[in-house]
């Protein structure tokens, strides 16, 4: 990965407390897995920002390497990679996600 891609990714993650790398936008997701995570966050009433990786090929490839995670979506909370679609769904279903946000000091 090029250094400037890495810096770009680092700076967006740092600037956004809750950040979802996704395909499409929260209003118009372009992939079912991205839509599922948007659904969970919206259902919980979590305010988040998103990056549409379909609009930026550099970030689309870069974020996979950065997180050591081969798929999109990817959720970051306060600089930490929380997981992709399966993990977020599972954490939502068993209540862990609510706990995670509250431990991270995020009020829902």
């Amino acid at each position: 990965m090029e250094q400037n891609t890495k810096e770009k990714i680092e700076s967006i993650i740092k600037d956004n407390e809750i950040l979802l790398f996704m395909k499409g936008t929260p209003v118009m997701p372009q992939c079912g897995f991205s839509a599922a995570v948007v659904g969970v966050l919206s259902h919980m009433g979590v305010k988040f920002n998103s990056v549409n990786v379909l609009e930026d090929a550099e970030i689309r490839e870069g974020i996979k390497e950065y997180s050591d995670w081969p798929t999109i979506p990817q959720l970051y909370v306060k600089n930490e990679f929380v997981g992709g679609c399966d993990i977020i769904r599972e954490m939502h279903e068993n209540g862990e996600l609510t706990e995670y946000f509250s431990q991270a000091g995020i009020n829902i």
């Binding site: 897995f33 996979k64 050591d68 995670w69 798929t71 997981g83």
Partner: protein, 78 residues
């Protein structure tokens, strides 16, 4: 390009020889699978780490030959 459930299982077993694996072909298209994997190697690891271990076991195929592999990982219960 796609993969068969058996190919996926073989790849997983290379890294996790002790694993109990259940694979579902979600759409019958050889491209969307769900795998439930139970292995001692997952003990003490976070869920992100567990999934990373499986993705690494997939030998770069995840996100390429294999479009979707929904994972459910855990260590055996005592």
């Amino acid at each position: 390009m796609s993969m068969t459930a058996i190919e996926i299982e073989e790849l997983i077993l290379k890294t996790f020889p002790d694993a109990k694996i259940i694979i579902d072909d979600l759409r019958g298209d050889g491209d969307h699978y769900a795998a439930q994997i139970i292995s001692e190697k997952f003990r003490g690891k976070t869920r992100v780490q567990q999934h990373q271990m499986v993705y690494n076991a997939m030998d770069g195929k995840m996100g390429k030959e294999l479009h979707a592999l929904a994972l459910n990982t855990s260590a055996p219960k005592d």
